[in-house]
Symmetry: C2
DNA sequence: CTAATCGTTCGCAAATTTACGAACAATTTT
DNA sequence: AAAATTGTTCGTAAATTTGCGAACGATTAG
């Protein structure tokens, strides 16, 4: 093994975002939330073919990744996209995909 | 449970790409390959803090996701970005992140 | 106060992921 | 032909992920 090499912070960060996006249920949640300003848990749950306990777990992961945030409102919980981190993720993926060069120049 | 809802093909596709990007070693491999036209296994292995068996596994996953391709050349194996699928992934992420709307309009 | 609603957490099972060294096949060098 | 190089595959262990139902706490409705 080599192995004083390490991953960069940027690589770790992008991988964390990507991992959070690496399940169709979480993509579906984000697709859904991205189309509106907010949504209660129930509304999200109704969109998914999985048990509410599992939906709750996926929401927790998205929250840990910083891509969404939740707020208690009466007996319900209101979720929304975290637009600041959304922008960070968008930028990180954008830069990643634009680093691809070839003999003929940049792919972008 | 609901649950005649299903994930769309687009959601499944994006999740597959994201999952492939969901590990810093694979990001590092792609970062590295994206900067050159091709690279042998050994060159990639030298960049990573993990055993060659593990590097080989990560390369296999990236190949399965369609993001890279390998070609045997003498006793060595030459890897490169699969630029066609790279462009597809780039587009899929771009569209995903641009679907985010708010009261103030599109985030993009 | 009691019952119903809402969503999280717990506990568990099954599947997948990550990692490694050893063994291996294929090629090249000596 | 024998030895060295290259990278994959095998077998295994540990950790993580995904999924569910049941139980739970918090709030609201009756």
């Amino acid at each position: 093994m080599n192995k004083n090499k390490k991953y960069t912070e940027q690589q770790e960060k992008l991988a964390r975002f990507a991992k959070a996006l690496g399940h169709p249920a979480r993509i579906a949640i984000l697709d859904f939330l991205a189309k509106r300003d907010t949504c209660f848990f129930g509304g999200i749950n109704d969109e998914l073919p999985i048990a509410k306990a599992t939906v709750s777990q996926h929401l927790k992961e998205l929250k840990n990744a910083g891509l969404i945030q939740g707020e208690i409102e009466g007996p319900k919980v209101k979720y929304c996209i975290n637009r600041e981190n959304w922008a960070l993720a968008k930028r990180a993926f954008g830069e990643f995909f634009c680093n691809c060069q070839s003999k003929k120049g940049n792919c972008c």
